[in-house]
């Protein structure tokens, strides 16, 4: 199963902001982390990630700098800032609403409530 492209795109911003909230990171590591989190189900490309990082930087949610950590190559690291954390919190609220609503209509795995359609006009 692969997650649909639209859904990947819609969840991209909170995903990246969430990963950066764990600590500063760089492109390749972010992609690897996404892979890890989704068990390889989320198909991210470089063409999605880097322009997105640049956009978040332009919007002022993240800051970037070229750094060389000892023993490694010089890399462009991205770091989330106050505004980015606020945006992440906002996105989280929105996603929680969506997820909660979906949970309401979709029966959980242990739940054997039959899926019965109620004909319109027959409630009450």
């Amino acid at each position: 199963m692969k997650v649909a492209k639209d859904l990947v795109a819609a969840s991209a911003t909170p995903m990246v902001l969430g990963i950066l909230a764990e600590g500063q990171s760089y492109g390749y590591a972010i992609l690897r982390r996404i892979n890890e989190l989704s068990g390889g189900e989320l198909a991210w490309t470089e063409g999605l990630l880097y322009p997105l990082l640049h956009r978040l930087e332009r919007l002022g949610y993240v800051e970037s700098s070229w750094q060389s950590v000892t023993g490694e190559r010089r890399r462009k690291y991205y770091r989330i800032n106050e505004k980015g954390l606020a945006e992440l919190a906002e996105q989280r609220r929105q996603w929680d609403t969506v997820v909660d609503a979906l949970k309401e209509i979709w029966p959980g795995r242990g739940d054997h409530r039959p899926l019965t359609a109620i004909p319109p006009g027959c409630q009450a």
Binding site: Y26, A29, E46, G47, L48, Y50, R58
Partner: protein, 457 residues
């Protein structure tokens, strides 16, 4: 393969990949660095699970996806990169080039201000812009072009002898414009007003080609410069027109009439300053914006060819002679100038090594139809001159016609031989650049010799 060899091969592959990336305008060097770092991480990870270096490289590149797709995604976020920007004061990073273009900017401002001021200097000696047309008409180019030539000579760091020659030629122009005391209604004053700018523009050309004035390539650069300068000047003039319309409208609304200010200050000073500014723009934006003159030529060559062919067809079909009045002769001169311009600017943008194509044949058709029309006109006009005698205007128009005709006839021959692959394209280019002094000589003759020749008529 040893570890060192494979390491070198990998470095070469990365270098090649970078070249491909750098060709994309959407991807800037910083992006290339970032993507390269990503690619290296991918390669390292793949090598760690047991792939050889070049296998790992292939897989990593493949995973990154095609550059087309990648740059499309980048373009969506950085759409401004597809529009080349004119950077007036240099890139923030590069200090040497930045300092140079800042200096250019200041010298340009100085020259433009000098040109604007010099228009008003004659007023100190009692000349009035709106009354002394006989003075301002022939002299106008002398207020602007020396400043432009000065700016270009400064940029080229021209040597002393060249500067002396330029100064002498401008002085000669000043003498020609003022020594003959032509009256405002004479034909000669108009002719000087038209031909002196041409002569002086070619003096500007001398400052442009600087030390290498024999080089055909440098002269071609000057032709390109002329076309771009003209386009910029027209654009600035359009902007100036809008500015003036606003001034009239807004100031009249509060009961102040701005006409005196506009016609005596804004328009003359703005026009001569625009001459310098346009020249600076062409120099500053070289390589930043696609040259526009060749694009316009490409658009209009087929259209002009169609019109000229239709005209020829109509003349033959109706068997009506061309009614050659003086205005008509000037109109046909202008037609030749336009055809020559179309020819020159498509030459200037052409890859000299490309083989002859459809467009070259189209140009041949354009030149041939212009020639055919012009021969008809010339026959009429010589008949008329032998009947009624000559005037300065007729003589000048006829002379120009002959000069342009000679140029285009030989161009047509060269074009024909080029489309038949008998001569290289360079011959055509050399012919056009070699012809430039002919225009200069003729313009100076009209300015210097015509007034006494026709007893200041």
């Amino acid at each position: 393969m040893t570890a060192r060899e494979s390491h070198e091969e990998l470095a070469a592959q990365f270098a090649q990949w970078r070249q491909y990336v750098q060709r994309r305008r959407e991807l800037q060097p910083a992006d290339a660095d970032e993507l390269e770092d990503h690619l290296r991480d991918s390669v390292d990870a793949l090598v760690a699970v047991g792939l050889s270096a070049d296998e790992a490289f292939l897989v990593a590149v493949k995973r990154m996806g095609s550059l087309d797709e990648l740059s499309r995604e980048f373009a969506r976020e950085h759409s401004e990169r597809l529009w080349k920007q004119l950077v007036l004061t240099g890139e923030p990073g590069s200090t040497a080039a930045g300092a140079r273009s800042r200096r250019d900017l200041w010298v340009m401002v100085l020259c433009a201000a000098g040109a604007a001021a010099s228009v008003k200097v004659p007023e100190l000696f009692g000349m009035r812009l709106n009354e002394d047309g006989a003075f301002y008409g022939p002299n106008f180019s002398l207020f602007a072009l020396p400043w432009l030539a000065g700016f270009i000579a400064w940029r080229r760091q021209a040597r002393r002898p060249l500067i002396a020659i330029l100064a002498a030629l401008f002085a000669l122009g000043a003498v020609a414009a003022n020594v003959y005391q032509l009256t405002e209604t004479s034909q000669s004053v108009v002719l000087t007003g038209i031909h002196l700018p041409i002569a002086l523009w070619l003096v500007v050309g001398l400052s442009y080609v600087a030390d290498d004035w024999r080089s055909s390539r440098r002269r071609m650069d000057f032709i390109r410069f002329t076309g771009e300068w003209f386009v910029y000047f027209v654009l600035i003039a359009l902007g100036g027109g809008v500015l003036m319309a606003f001034m009239f409208g807004t100031f009249e609304a509060i009961g102040i009439d701005p006409e005196q200010f506009v016609s005596l200050w804004l328009m003359p000073c703005g026009a001569v300053a625009a001459v310098v500014v346009a020249g600076w723009l062409v120099e500053a934006k070289q390589g930043v914006v696609e040259n526009i003159a060749p694009v316009l030529t490409r658009l209009f060559t087929p259209l002009f060819t169609a019109v000229l062919l239709a005209f020829l067809f109509a003349v033959v079909r109706t068997r009506s002679g061309i009614d050659v009045e003086r205005e008509a002769l000037i109109l046909f001169d202008l037609m030749l100038v336009v055809v020559l311009g179309l020819l020159l600017y498509s030459l200037s943008a052409r890859d000299p090594l490309a083989p002859a194509g459809l467009f070259d044949k189209l140009q041949l058709a354009l030149v041939l139809s212009a020639l055919a029309i012009d021969v008809l006109v010339l026959l009429e006009i010589t008949q008329r001159i032998t009947e009624f005698g000559t005037t300065p205007n007729k003589a000048a128009a006829l002379g120009e016609n002959v000069i342009l005709l000679a140029n285009l006839a030989w161009s047509a021959l060269l074009l024909l031989r080029f489309t038949r692959r008998q001569t290289p394209f360079a011959a055509l280019e050399r012919w056009q650049t070699g012809y430039l002094p002919v225009y200069a000589v003729w313009a100076w003759i009209v300015v210097l010799v015509f007034p006494p020749l026709f007893s200041y008529a």
